[in-house]
Symmetry: C2
Subunit: 506 residues, 2 copies
């Protein structure tokens, strides 16, 4: 603002951004398909579940639940669901929206309806930054990303496996990961899903943090469960879904479909499959405990014709995102989509284009829980420190987008037009002075200076500015307070469980 | 496609992409504002034109046209337009859509309605590439960008001032620029707008290329005219609008508003102003020659609170884009928006994020003519060779998005589900083999390989791959045939006009 004083500028710069605990969208969803189109997708999803069937391999209680609900079971594992039954089960009891409670009540998030929650990327074995390059993730990296997520104003959620801490035995990692989310952040988080036992440990730690009674009646943890697409749920995954549901916690049920590999290459077919699988899993949670919260997920992408490699930020999954948003609203359950996805190995223009091409349709499609919103690189194989803060910057812009346009007297600024008149500038007029501090979303990592100034400051590309930012953020980090007695009980639990278990690799 | 033969893969790779002359969107527009909201914007736009008034400075015939139409003129230059009159003039005669003819009839574009035309960036004094860096543009650069635009499958239009050829005298540049579009491309293009005389020269050259009679009854050239926002049209600009309209050619009427400078900082006010100014200019063209084609333009962006510098790809202009799409449809004229806009000095992640944040709302908002779709860097000060081909790649993806989702039997792929069944893969199934070559949009510049392969190939970021591509494209360039007699007449005209004019700098 050239018209404002230097003092006012500095003050405005120092003010922390106003960030809500979650987004409530004031703008409408984008409606890609007509009602007839949506009915056609639903009909095909029903047909897949009825005619082809969905397998559950090695979880007799889950099969029994479906049998009792009216499904036809073939070969002890293939569940043929009469058309409409899965939808009916979901609609009968799954909440359309619910609150996931954080240990800091101000951070609790509303999931579903017109709300959107951003969570960081999930599951990468590698981490990368400009200085140290690409390497396996460690528990120290895990702590760093939890801390960066805590400090990120536009991330509402601490996420789950923000990177794999490969320096901790596989069967004990979940204890350290859940503890890190509880200790180093006060935002809501996700628990383990690799085995039902680890899911139970995650929930048990929540009972220590929130109190057992509170946990039984409030959602405090999510578990992100992948379907073994096409149309298979292995017994461990189905037990994990049932474990979260039984504890009144929320499984996120996520078909994992790269078109041409785990589903057909054509988008309509992959979409119908994805919807069928996710609805089947959400219904299973309802059969286990009616009324328990759940999220309908999807992980749908394309592949490279040249190499068979997975591709991200391509137009086909964008169309699928937009349509599945409509399907989830018709079904009446919250939707998870992926956020800033990309295939690029570095935080370059490819990464940014692909990420934006993924975030835009997820957001406009009305996704309620957007996982992989920050840090994702390399088809999910690496978590990038630089991209993490760059993505967070982009999430901030979507907060402004979500608010829509203020069509009130101040917004229309008629007095300013009267004051300024034709051919004059608005830099110093009363309306500008009254509004400029909040008028525009201000990116922390975009360089808008002139070429000469940018050059004088080192001609940095965005990742280099991002490097400075995440390093400064980590230096400034201070842990949110945690009751020492609770902390001790969590550490005791973790120590006891670790002592009970031999180190494992699977 | 791992399941397909190497031969099939190579053949598919070699096949030229199927690119239409323009896009016809099969997907719906995004509707941001309600009918009440749109009426409020229209009401405020009307009020600006009636109460504040729009000046035309130094063009008595234009003032006379408005006086005869019923406007009240104050101080010989301020035009107070009764509420609703500008809209009424536009609706009475401006075409809702029209064809801009190319010298190659297959390249003619339809502008308006459900159609979208992509044109390259316009007006930068500088050009930049990875090898030579940033420098003033020359006529050689101009030729290069016309050639690259000709070769770009996803650019429908050759544009206008693809860069400023600063090595040619200012008052003669237009002759070389228009000739370059005619000679080195066969796509539609834009003419000069810096003076009415140069606009007339541009149109005269079209008469030589297309025939005078054809030009009088068909649109063959656009002229991109900036309003001197707020609410002023200088006499040269208004004469240029009238010159194009009088020749039955299409002025693109573009308010130039950076919120807080040439308009209020609040989006609703800037939007109402933009709509008022553009409608006023389109109406002027209709008063000059009813029924002549025109495009409603906008160039709306925000500014940095920290420096006062213009910013691009921010959420406020995204909201404005979405709303002005609705306003243009209600008015019934084709809409121009900006495409891949950014403030970054290099083709990095910032450039890509900002560009995507600009292209998405322009496209979903239903813009019909998207200028600045390729090459734009540095708030429009530089045209980048690398970003040009990177942007074109992104435009290709939007062609797929525009087609929407095929909800037919092949799309739903029921036979593939029956063939493959649960737990198996789709790589080699009949449906995949029949569809994989056309199933996914294949970026030319995204690297989707694994980290190790990417590293073995030099660990290139996207701009480095883009550099190889534009260099290879220019090497492969072959000019489209042009009748030698026409070519000679164009060169004669240009030589004669240059001889008539002393070298000028303004």
């Amino acid at each position: 603002m050239r018209g404002a004083s230097r003092e006012a500028r500095l003050k405005a710069r120092a003010a922390p951004p106003v960030a809500p605990a979650y987004i409530t969208r004031a703008i409408p969803e984008y409606e890609l398909l007509s009602a007839e189109g949506l009915e056609a997708v639903e009909r095909h999803a029903d047909q897949l579940l009825e005619e082809i069937g969905h397998e559950i391999r090695g979880d007799e209680p889950a099969i029994a639940l479906w049998r009792r609900a009216g499904a036809r079971i073939v070969d002890d594992c293939r569940v043929h669901v009469p058309a409409g039954l899965a939808r009916q089960i979901v609609r009968a009891s799954a909440p359309q929206e619910f609150t996931q409670h954080a240990r800091n009540p101000k951070r609790s998030v509303r999931i579903g309806g017109r709300h959107t929650v951003f969570a960081p990327a999930y599951g990468s074995p590698f981490v990368t930054d400009l200085e140290r390059g690409r390497r396996y993730g460690t528990i120290a990296d895990f702590h760093n990303f939890v801390k960066l997520g805590y400090l990120a104003p536009w991330l509402h959620h601490s996420g789950g496996t923000v990177c794999e801490p490969v320096d901790v035995p596989v069967n004990k990692r979940h204890l350290d990961m859940v503890y890190a989310h509880m200790r180093y952040s006060d935002k809501p988080f996700m628990g383990s899903v690799t085995t039902a036992e680890r899911a139970r440990d995650s929930i048990e730690m929540c009972r220590l943090l929130f109190g057992a009674q509170f946990v039984d009646s409030h959602c405090v943890i999510l578990g992100n469960v992948n379907v073994n697409s096409p149309l298979v749920l292995d017994g461990e995954a189905s037990r994990v879904i049932r474990t979260y549901a039984a504890a009144n916690q929320a499984p996120v049920c996520v078909p994992f479909i790269l078109g041409g590999a785990m589903g057909p290459v054509t988008t309509a077919g992959a979409l119908a499959q994805c919807f069928a699988e996710a609805m089947f899993c959400v219904a299973l949670g309802q059969l286990e405990r009616p009324g328990s919260p759940a999220i309908l997920g999807n992980f749908l992408s394309s592949m490279s014709l040249r190499s068979g490699a997975p591709t991200f930020g391509t137009p086909e999954p964008a169309l699928a995102y937009l349509a599945i948003g409509q399907l989830a609203r018709r079904l009446g359950v919250p939707l998870r989509c992926g956020g800033n996805l990309c295939a690029s190995k570095v935080a370059d223009a490819q990464a940014a284009t692909e990420s934006a091409n993924s975030l835009w349709p997820a957001f406009l499609g009305g996704a309620n829980f957007i996982l992989h919103s920050a840090g994702w690189l390399e088809a999910g194989l690496a978590m990038s420190y630089e991209k993490f803060v760059m993505d967070v910057d982009q999430l901030g812009a979507f907060h402004t987008l979500a608010r829509g346009m203020a069509l009130d007297d101040n917004g229309f600024a008629l007095d300013a037009f009267r004051e300024v008149g034709p051919g004059q500038h608005y830099l110093g007029c009363a309306h500008t002075l009254a509004n400029y501090q909040s008028a525009f979303y201000e990116s922390q990592l975009a360089d808008n200076n002139c070429f000469e100034q940018w050059q004088a400051e080192g001609a940095l590309a965005q990742p280099q500015r991002a490097q400075r930012r995440w390093q400064a953020l980590l230096e400034s980090y201070q842990a949110p307070p945690l009751d020492p007695a609770v902390d001790e009980s969590l550490q005791d639990f973790s120590a006891r469980r670790k002592a009970e278990l031999p180190d494992g690799i699977g």
